[in-house]
């Protein structure tokens, strides 16, 4: 295939400013790729390199470089993804604290960094330091009292609004594709869809910058989903540097799968969990070769992030947990209850969020995206400030809920009544009765839980980068901690009940409420996203130990069962259906007894199939056919009488080939015959020069007979990644089934609206 871009040759550098020439073999925007063709092109390329490598030493070295280019791309992706994640973490840390105050010694320090070198050494004031001042102290030199509180409140809201407004403006002006979580669109892209610009450089820059702004503004969203998008943008950028990946859309998607693994790896500090997430949730085809390379990319990303060390303790996540207190079999009952809660919450969230997003798509609400962001930010800031558990960032909240209460914690949640004569080490403190601080903390947590459940429904899906992992984990952690404290107090006050008697003696450390918070977080995350193995692996990499695998698995399994009882789709599949992306899910089962004739086009009563003939159409006929219809391709038959199939020609390639021929070949005019055979047909003398288009013809289109069950047809589409499939009977062409027809048919069978499949 001629690469028309080569016509410019090795022109000067200013050629990059000209519009790129679309070459034969690339795809149009919003179309599906042809997986089989990409695979065969890659095999051709590999065979050519291998055969040339025997010629000279230089060719041999080139073949080695080609083989190693995959690993080089993974290394670069890991480095850039880790760096960007470190930048995001540090910037979020600083900007979140900026809402409340500023460090006077150096303005770029967050609260914790500012107080690092403070000289306060008494136990009671360990959270105070004079160098970091709240805004009320700075502006009106008052730190207590009603006016200080109101001034702090007002400035908190102002900063939050400022960040959110800046974020939505940047998204709107520079990169509208940077909004949302990104995972539904990446799933669709990895299944073979083309969305030009979705993984571009501007999207990468704007998504990184605005992610920091929206997380700092206190909105109820997370950064994990957008980090996957950011990592895939890095993957796209580096794969465009190597011709092996930039020219082949199928190979590029292997790189993107690995980049998605690197994204989750830096979000959670979980390389293995990242690879499993990419395998289970994001990727469509995941060859085993990609498994090892994804792991490499995830590892490099995790190490890069660790060397930047954003949290000062060599941990990659703020809520890393380090205790190893054991759990008991009788505690499985509350863990399963938490699983049921997670499943119910997941179902509720998905239904409400999809209903709200559908309203945003179809009614006037969608016309005011900037105003919507500002209103939701204002509501979130106004309600979040009074409650100390929602005022701080969600990651810090989760970190506090996950942590075990030693003797040293100063928060209200750890306000237990201590025994002054106790001399136990830090992680073996026995169960204690709750002090008044714990009771007020429970009330505040309950209010925070309700608030978070409600506000996240409206926040996810706005026109800003928004992730879902952290809010779900926060909801689960709050519920889990409350249940854990309840069980702990029950065990302390009623240690002579039969359920507690065996394993909980007075004076022993039986119940760890932090573990309940972790289990709750896993349950809620599983209920929303329907992740299974990857969830458990991510959570156990977060805790650093294998002790808690059984409770996490119990909760994840229970929440998935409960949630699946109400609806089969996770949040990402639900958003894919809402937007009508042409995504053929591998998890859907097709159990209906329809045949290929029921789905193929043309139906009875429709116009007959638009075909090209082998050697009896003129250039003008072909152009008219192309202009009058908008099909993506045309089958080529022997003649209109005997409709025996020869092959399939793509619309885009026909357009380009005819245009090239008119411009460059002599004698090709509107009356020239177009032929797809090897030899030109018999023509009367003085007829214009015929046009040979055999090279754009696909001689091996996939065909099924009209009695093939649709179950098999759907399987073929899924496993081979087809775009269209021709239907024949006794060798004669009857009709065509496209991927859109398959999706519409499945939607119809599932009683959904078949017109909601929008894309081709």
């Amino acid at each position: 295939m001629v690469n028309a871009g080569d016509m410019n040759g090795s022109g000067n550098l200013m050629d990059f400013l000209d519009e790129p020439f679309p070459d034969v073999g690339t795809y149009e925007d919003f179309h599906t790729i042809d997986w089989l063709r990409e695979k065969s092109r890659d095999t051709d390329r590999h065979r050519k390199i291998t055969s040339k490598s025997k010629e000279s030493i230089w060719e041999f070295i080139k073949s080695l470089l080609d083989a190693w280019s995959g690993w080089v791309v993974m290394l670069l992706i890991g480095l850039l993804a880790g760096t960007l994640a470190g930048v995001i973490d540090l910037a979020v840390d600083w900007m979140t604290d900026l809402k409340e105050g500023v460090c006077l010694s150096a303005f770029w320090y967050s609260h914790e960094q500012c107080c690092w070198t403070s000289n306060e050494t008494t136990f009671d004031d360990r959270d105070k330091c004079p160098q970091w001042q709240k805004w009320s102290e700075l502006l009106v030199s008052q730190s207590e009292g009603a006016s200080a509180y109101i001034l702090n409140y007002f400035l908190y809201i102002m900063w939050a609004l400022c960040f959110a407004f800046l974020a939505v403006s940047l998204v709107r002006v520079f990169a509208p594709y940077a909004c949302g979580s990104g995972i539904p669109e990446i799933k669709t892209i990895l299944s073979g869809f083309i969305i030009r610009g979705y993984l571009g450089k501007w999207t990468l820059l704007i998504k990184t910058v605005t992610l920091v702004l929206v997380v700092s503004s206190g909105l109820s969203l997370g950064k994990e989903g957008p980090l996957v998008h950011v990592a895939c943008c890095c993957g796209n950028f580096f794969s465009s540097l190597f011709s092996k990946y930039s020219k082949n859309e199928g190979k590029r998607r292997e790189v993107l799968s690995a980049a998605a693994a690197a994204g989750v790896s830096v979000a959670f500090g979980a390389p293995i969990g990242g690879v499993l997430f990419s395998l289970e949730e994001v990727s469509y085809y995941f060859p085993l070769k990609t498994l090892w390379r994804s792991f490499f990319a995830a590892l490099v990303a995790a190490f890069t992030l660790r060397s930047i060390n954003p949290f000062g303790n060599s941990r990659l996540v703020l809520f890393y947990v380090e205790y190893h207190t054991p759990w008991y079999m009788a505690e499985l009952f509350p863990f399963i209850l938490l699983g049921v809660f997670g499943g119910l919450w997941g179902t509720l969230f998905i239904r409400c969020n999809i209903a709200w997003c559908r309203r945003r798509k179809t009614t006037r609400l969608g016309k005011y995206p900037v105003l919507e962001v500002i209103v939701i930010t204002a509501i979130t800031a106004i309600i979040a400030y009074p409650n100390p558990y929602t005022r701080r960032s969600t990651s810090e909240l989760i970190s506090e809920l996950f942590n075990d209460c030693g003797a040293l914690e100063s928060s209200q949640l750890c306000d237990y009544i201590n025994d002054p004569n106790m001399t136990r080490p830090v992680d073996d403190i026995p169960d204690r009765p709750a002090g008044p601080g714990v009771y007020s903390a429970m009330w505040q947590l309950a209010l925070a839980l309700v608030f978070k459940i409600v506000i996240t429904i409206f926040t996810f899906g706005m026109k800003i980068p928004s992730g879902l992992f952290i809010p779900s984990m926060a909801v689960g952690a709050m519920a889990g901690r409350m249940v854990g404290i309840g069980v702990e107090q029950l065990a302390y006050h009623h240690h002579d009940w039969i359920i507690f008697r065996n394993w909980c003696r007075p004076g022993a450390d039986c119940v760890t409420p932090g573990l309940y918070a972790m289990v709750g977080a896993a349950a809620c995350l599983g209920g929303v996203t329907r992740m299974t193995v990857s969830l458990v692996v991510i959570m156990f990499e977060l805790t650093g130990g294998l002790e808690y695998i059984v409770p996490l698995m119990a909760a994840a399994v229970t929440s998935k069962w409960v949630a699946d009882a109400f609806g089969k789709e996770g949040i990402y599949e639900a958003h894919i259906h809402l937007n009508g992306y042409p995504f053929l899910d591998v998890k859907d089962e097709f159990t209906h007894r329809t045949l290929a004739t029921d789905v193929m086009r043309p139906r009875r009563g429709e116009a007959p199939l638009s075909v090209l003939t082998q050697d009896s159409m003129t250039v003008e006929d072909v152009e008219t056919l192309i202009k009058e219809t908008d099909y993506n391709g045309f089958p080529v038959v022997v003649s209109k009488d005997s409709e025996r199939l020869i092959g399939f020609a793509q619309r885009r390639e026909l357009i380009l080939a005819i245009k090239n021929a008119r411009q460059r070949q002599d004698g090709v005019v509107s009356n020239s015959i177009v032929y797809f055979t090897e030899e030109p047909p018999e023509l009367p003398p003085n007829s214009p020069h015929p046009l040979k288009l055999r090279r754009i013809l696909n001689l091996s289109p996939f065909t099924v007979t009209d009695h093939t069950p649709m179950e098999t047809v759907v399987d073929i589409f899924r496993k081979l990644g087809l775009r269209q499939c021709l239907v024949t009977r006794s060798g004669r062409l009857l009709g065509i089934i496209t991927k859109k027809d398959v999706l519409r048919h499945m939607a119809q069978m599932a009683n959904q609206d078949p017109e909601s499949i929008m894309f081709n």
Partner: protein, 198 residues
């Protein structure tokens, strides 16, 4: 293998060079801080000891290495007599922490400068650009809100390549116009037609 490199520039517009430059700058500047030598205030061992009997709680900080980060090395002067030291140290919790102040400073300052640059460019595009750009037929489609799908298919065929501008400035203008058209198309898809991203 690397013949792709000039092609990469040949196929991206000028407006994609600026974010590339920013990203490369970010990467280059971050490498030195990651290996920067640590100043003395960047590492510490922090031991928190709660109240014990009649001794009030106290926090001890000391600049020691990680293997020396335990109660015996850091808690000085020891407030309890020798036979009670072990019981007291069991209650204390010692953590080793390190940070890199240069990394934090560099990253925050780079981030703020990137945000500032984007703000200025946004202000230029929204406020100044429409005033200085005289409306001509080439930019008219930008204001046409009822673009049909056909203009998209027309855009895939190369634009008037015959009138190839020769000066650098006009080529830069062309590249910027192309980028603005792409963003306009994205904005219509996402914000107006709600075809993608709900």
């Amino acid at each position: 293998l690397f013949p792709q490199a000039p092609r990469m520039f040949a196929q991206s517009s000028r407006n994609s060079v600026s974010p590339v430059l920013l990203l490369v700058l970010l990467g280059c500047v971050l490498c030195p801080p990651a290996q920067a030598s640590k100043s003395s205030e960047d590492i510490r061992c922090k031991c928190i000891c709660p109240p014990y009997r009649n001794i009030s709680g106290h926090i001890y900080n000391k600049n020691v290495s990680q293997k020396d980060c335990n109660c015996l090395h850091v808690v000085e002067p020891m407030p309890v007599p020798g036979n009670d030291v072990e019981a007291y140290c069991l209650l204390c919790e010692c953590k080793y922490e390190e940070r890199s102040t240069t990394t934090i400073k560099v990253i925050i300052i780079i981030y703020l400068s990137v945000v500032g640059a984007l703000l200025l460019y946004m202000a230029f595009l929204v406020l100044v650009d429409p005033l200085i750009r005289k409306p001509d037929p080439y930019t008219q489609p930008l204001h046409n809100e009822e673009d049909s799908e056909d203009t998209r298919s027309l855009a895939t065929v190369p634009a008037p390549a015959g009138a190839r501008a020769n000066t650098v400035l006009e080529r830069v203008e062309g590249a910027q116009q192309r980028w603005k058209r792409q963003v306009q198309e994205q904005r219509k898809t996402v914000f107006d037609r709600h075809k993608m991203l709900s």
